[in-house]
């Protein structure tokens, strides 16, 4: 690239745009479909039903311990596909850059996207770049859409939860949210904290293949955290859920950061964890399958679905008390005294 910062011209659709695309993106994650640079990508039709999803990424800071906005944009969309049991096929990646962003930063993000897609074995078949004047966006925003294929026989939906089902979480909670919030607060105790951003489709596939029919639903507890996802499962299934706080895995660093910032880890975002609703007789098997994979080593059974007040989630606290969990509302704000 001739320029070392992004200019409005790079989003004009003219020669500068072409240079940006060919030198930064095609070199890193180009493939025959993308390299055609036509108005839309033509993909072969796979067998099975199609899953389709889209998500925007505006994380601040754009680089954080454990990942960056690029890897997050890949993993987030791959995971949305995986939660319905889909095998991810292909993504589109669309950027909005703020004028003046160093080209070096874009190269880092593009490399990170390339690594994340290689790790997740998905291709990028469409993309776009726009540049807005300085101050009209904050550094970079990314939108990724994803296509996946749902194998025959896979029917995952939170509506399918039944009384007696167990609730599993695939690992420690709150890592991503705690990392971002401590970074943003400018507090200097972030040592040991890292985002958990990771693709989950291999974990999902090993469970769907290793314990056929065991899982009623997967959900990834991103924004709103585990508590909000549990409330959604309870309300969509018309059942009650009780979870046991003492059994929920959490890293000590995350717990400490939450104490200092006055946050509840149950409401913090996760970017590489899933919640599974599993039939009771298969819960141990699914837990074992999770433990067998690196991204599920700290998986645990944390609760149970039951008849009761529809939509209610009850937490048995570590102190032995009971409290209701509500969906996240308002911003997760720090305490002030």
């Amino acid at each position: 690239m001739r320029d070392d910062v992004i200019l409005l011209d790079h989003g004009s659709g003219g020669l500068a745009s072409a240079e940006l695309i060919s030198q930064i993106f095609l070199t890193r994650y180009g493939n025959p479909v993308l390299a055609e640079l036509e108005d839309s990508a033509i993909l072969d039709r796979p067998a099975g039903r199609i899953a389709f999803t889209t998500d925007g990424y505006v994380v601040d800071p754009i680089f954080f311990p454990g990942g960056d906005i690029g890897s997050l944009a890949v993993h987030g969309t791959v995971n949305d596909l995986a939660m319905r049991g889909a095998v991810p096929l292909s993504l589109s990646v669309s950027f909005i850059f703020e004028e003046g962003l160093p080209v070096r930063t874009i190269e880092q993000i593009a490399s990170s996207i390339a690594q994340a897609t290689a790790r997740a074995r998905v291709s990028i078949s469409a993309g776009d770049t726009k540049v807005v004047p300085r101050g009209k966006a904050d550094k970079v925003f990314i939108t990724t859409s994803g296509l996946g294929v749902v194998p025959d026989g896979v029917e995952l939906s939170t509506k399918r939860a039944r009384p007696g089902d167990r609730i599993l979480v695939s690992g420690t909670i709150g890592d991503h949210g705690a990392t971002i919030l401590t970074q943003r607060s400018g507090l200097t105790f972030s040592g040991g904290l890292a985002s958990d951003t990771a693709p989950l489709h291999d974990l999902v596939r090993s469970i769907l293949e290793g314990a056929t029919g065991a899982v009623r639903a997967f959900r990834d507890p991103t924004r709103g955290g585990v508590a909000t996802v549990l409330c959604e499962i309870a309300s969509r299934s018309g059942l009650e859920i009780e979870v046991d706080e003492a059994s929920i895995p959490i890293r000590p660093e995350v717990a400490s950061a939450c104490e200092i910032l006055g946050l509840d880890p149950l409401y913090l975002a996760n970017e590489g964890k899933c919640i599974a609703v599993v039939s009771p007789d298969m819960a141990k098997d699914v837990e074992g399958l999770m433990h067998a994979r690196p991204e599920g080593q700290e998986a645990a059974v944390i609760g149970e679905v039951r008849d009761g007040r529809p939509g209610r989630v009850i937490l048995r606290t570590a102190a032995g008390g009971l409290r209701v969990l509500r969906p996240l509302s308002g911003m997760p704000l720090p305490r002030i005294c």
Partner: protein
Amino acid sequence: MFPSPDLSGFRSRAAIDALVHELSLLVDRPMRFMEVCGTHTMAVARYGLRSLFPPRFELVSGPGCPVCVTAQSHVDAMIRLARIPGVTIATFGDMVRVPGSSGSLAHAMAEGARVEIVYSPTDALHLAREVSPDPVVFLAVGFETTAPAVAATILEAERTGVENLLVHPAHKLMPPALDCIMSGGAAVNGLLCPGHVSAVIGAKAYAPLAEGQGLPCVIGGFEPADILLALTLLARQVREGRSEVENAYPRAVSWEGNKRAREVMEAVFRPEDTEWRGLGVISGSGLTLREGFRDRDARTRFGVHPVPVADPPGCVCGEVLKGVKTPTDCPLFASRCTPQSPVGPCMVSGEGACAAHYLTDGPCHA
């Protein structure tokens, strides 16, 4: 990594179970206590302690949430300040969504006001020094816990010549408010006294209430076992007909308190009469800047003074803060007033009695 004290003993199930059992043995008559610290309110909710209390035992919230006790007139003045072109407001996050007479700071932000959420007064100093050449107004809400840090920040601004850091003083002092509530005939049998505030003002600050007004006072920490221990001590005082100051949080609180913190606070602030939500004007219960720091008072700099105004219609926050009513006594609770669209401040802050009640005790979907 920052040091993290080992508090596991204060969370151990064995300790908690034993204290819950002891409490159930002690409560032989109706007992009603008040916690006067937002952090206690949150901890009780967060650990689900209410579900562990014996029958005939009640813990109500008092004026312990700094956002909640901020009078409507002050909230309005803060929003008016935010709307002045060129002014940047630096505030703790909880203030942003508190409804004023028309709109909130969040609304003012959406209309273009500059409002920065900060985690400490030093962040506000940083904004004034490094980011904004224009006035940065820190909304100084909070009790004796926050005031020394704000005072130290102002001294630092003086020392380093940062002239564009201003404050809207809205600090509150806990003892005058407690005295005011209790002198009207206490609706409670004792006080669970705030751990953080007491670390500054010292356990001795409650002696007049205990001795003068016959009100048992126990200072408690914030772990489940701390809180339960303090509550058993309160119940024991009631049973034995005693009213004393007891310190169940000696690892942080002394009889004398933190003299150094009080000196810093007193170097910068002096008491003034101030309005509390629901309690009205209480003499000497607020803090204003001393003469030498007057040009940092955003109220005088911009001529924005609190104008008395009625609380939001239907909202009984004031009665809740006095411990006379509980959140569920409010007709708007969980119907018109929820954390998504709060009517009063008690539903905004996680330390507010209504929000704590809504978020942890009520039905999952109202």
